[in-house]
């Protein structure tokens, strides 16, 4: 009997990719807003040159989002950037979904090599710290505790920034 061998095209994980895209938009806009108001984030990015770009990308061919340092803030570039000075990869859709939803913190994701970096490691370290601050603004403390090694202090200013992010900051990216 002749067996027919045909190429197999696996299905696309539409739901998970959709969720990742949404989180990328929220995260990118939150970064743009928080980088204009939070002193710690401003300090972290202060040494980056103007025009410095970074992308977060799901490997090998998944969604991605970009940020660019402009006028001492991080500007959300959506999917405009194809390459960047610093590239942060999620190894696959499942890992990205786990990190974005947020079931796993970036430190554990790096430790388990679910995330990897291409570019300047010093800047990547500073970005990771800024990411922790943004996460702590986006999520309540009981979730953040599971995601980070040390929860950034929720000062009065940060509490105000959290309210701002939830009301206008993410929508307006200001």
């Amino acid at each position: 009997m002749n067996v027919q061998y045909r190429p197999i095209v696996p299905s696309i994980k539409r739901f998970k990719i959709f969720v990742i895209k949404i989180v990328f938009i929220v995260l990118g806009r939150a970064f743009q807003s928080a980088s204009q108001h939070d002193e710690e984030i401003k300090k972290e990015i202060s040494s980056w040159r103007d025009g410095f770009t970074l992308i977060m990308k799901v490997m090998p061919d998944g969604p991605y989002m970009g940020l660019e340092k402009k006028n001492n803030m991080l500007e959300f570039k959506g999917s405009q950037l194809k390459q960047a000075d610093l590239e942060i990869y999620f190894r696959n859709v499942e890992s990205a979904f786990m990190i974005m939803t947020p079931q796993m913190g970036s430190h554990q994701a790096f430790a388990e090599r679910r995330m990897s970096i291409k570019g300047d490691l010093g800047i990547a370290t500073a970005f990771t710290r800024a990411l922790v601050i943004v996460m702590s603004l986006l999520y309540p403390e009981f979730i953040v505790k599971r995601l980070v090694k040390r929860v950034p202090p929720l000062t009065l200013k940060r509490a105000g920034l959290r309210v701002w992010l939830y009301t206008f900051g993410i929508v307006l990216a200001r």
């Binding site: 430190h107 554990q108 790096f110 430790a111 388990e112 090599r113 679910r114 990897s116 970096i117 291409k118 570019g119 300047d120 490691l121 010093g122 990547a124 370290t125 500073a126 990771t128 980070v148 090694k149 040390r150």
Partner: protein
Amino acid sequence: MLPSYYEFHNPVKIISGNKALDNLPSELEILGAKRPMVVTDKGVAGAGLVKIFIDSFGSSGMTIGAIFDDVPPDSSSEVVEKITSIFRQNKCDSIVALGGGSVIDTAKGVNILVTENSDDLLKFSGAEVLKKKMKPLVVIPTTSGTGSEVTVVAVISDVKRNLKMPFASTYLLPDIALLDPRMTLTLPPKMTAATAMDAMCHAVESYINLQKNPMSDAYAVAAIEMIRKNVLKAVSDGNNAQVRLAMANASTMAGIAFSNSMVGVVHALGHAAGGICHIPHGVAMNIFLPFGLEYNLPKCRENIGKLLLPLAGAEVYARTPESRRAEQTINHIVELRKALNDLCGLPINLKQAGVTEDKLSEIAQAAINDPSIVMNPREMDANDALAILKKAFE
């Protein structure tokens, strides 16, 4: 506890033992290499090791393409470019690094440029930037500490731009690490002690940090036990070939461990102190290790406690209550440092190493931007770093 997920990678062939060097020509042939370029330094050449190296090629029919013996103590892009040009002029096809950390990192830098056919090393700086399989690289360590013969990293200074360029890629892994006791016999006592404590830090930090896994743990524990049994003998009786070979093996095992699970605050502080005050890396490791462990105690007491077994032996481990093992581990490291200090004067605080107090804030700031802290169990900020530095000062 088994991590929910981990990766472990070590394709480097380890060749270890008496007269292991004599196998080099046939190993190069297996790698398809016919004309190796040797990268080494004046100290290695002056100690007569290059002569032993050349002798090992006798009757092999192989030609050594060129020998560059002027690598400075800190690898620099200028030297890498110079060696690259000699490599091309002499039509070499492979690289042999004969030396310590600086020589090995320089050789890795040369391999990047000759493989990528480029003259701009900065273009390839960072993590996972390299995309091509490299030329054959054999590493023969002449110190027992860096572990660079089995790691995915290299650090090279860009003198013109005044920056340190880190490179991290699996392509940087050498093909062969060749451990021959003759290569470390002439290492002076103080340097033997400093490099041994570097290896100790690799093993200890790899065992307690976030990326630890059962494979790296196995290498780390074996390395610590081997260092404990041999380090004092290696410092006091440097001519003992068996002891030297054991230390070389310990260093390589520690290198495999940390290449797969990274290091932590001890290295972050050491890199920063080295960059700002030019303290030799091994000396910095010796100074910071107990303070780094003390700092991490609240997050990984159990793992630090487990290290008492390889560090002190079964009897001490068995008679120490579980609740006291972590403190005992730190005490044993403090005692080891004291013994090394008595034997060869290895500094045990920053003041002894020539650091002035006004530099501490600058070191603290540099340490928190060092990539080594990412896998440390406890998040270290600048205030924490400064507190550790003050404790380590005198």
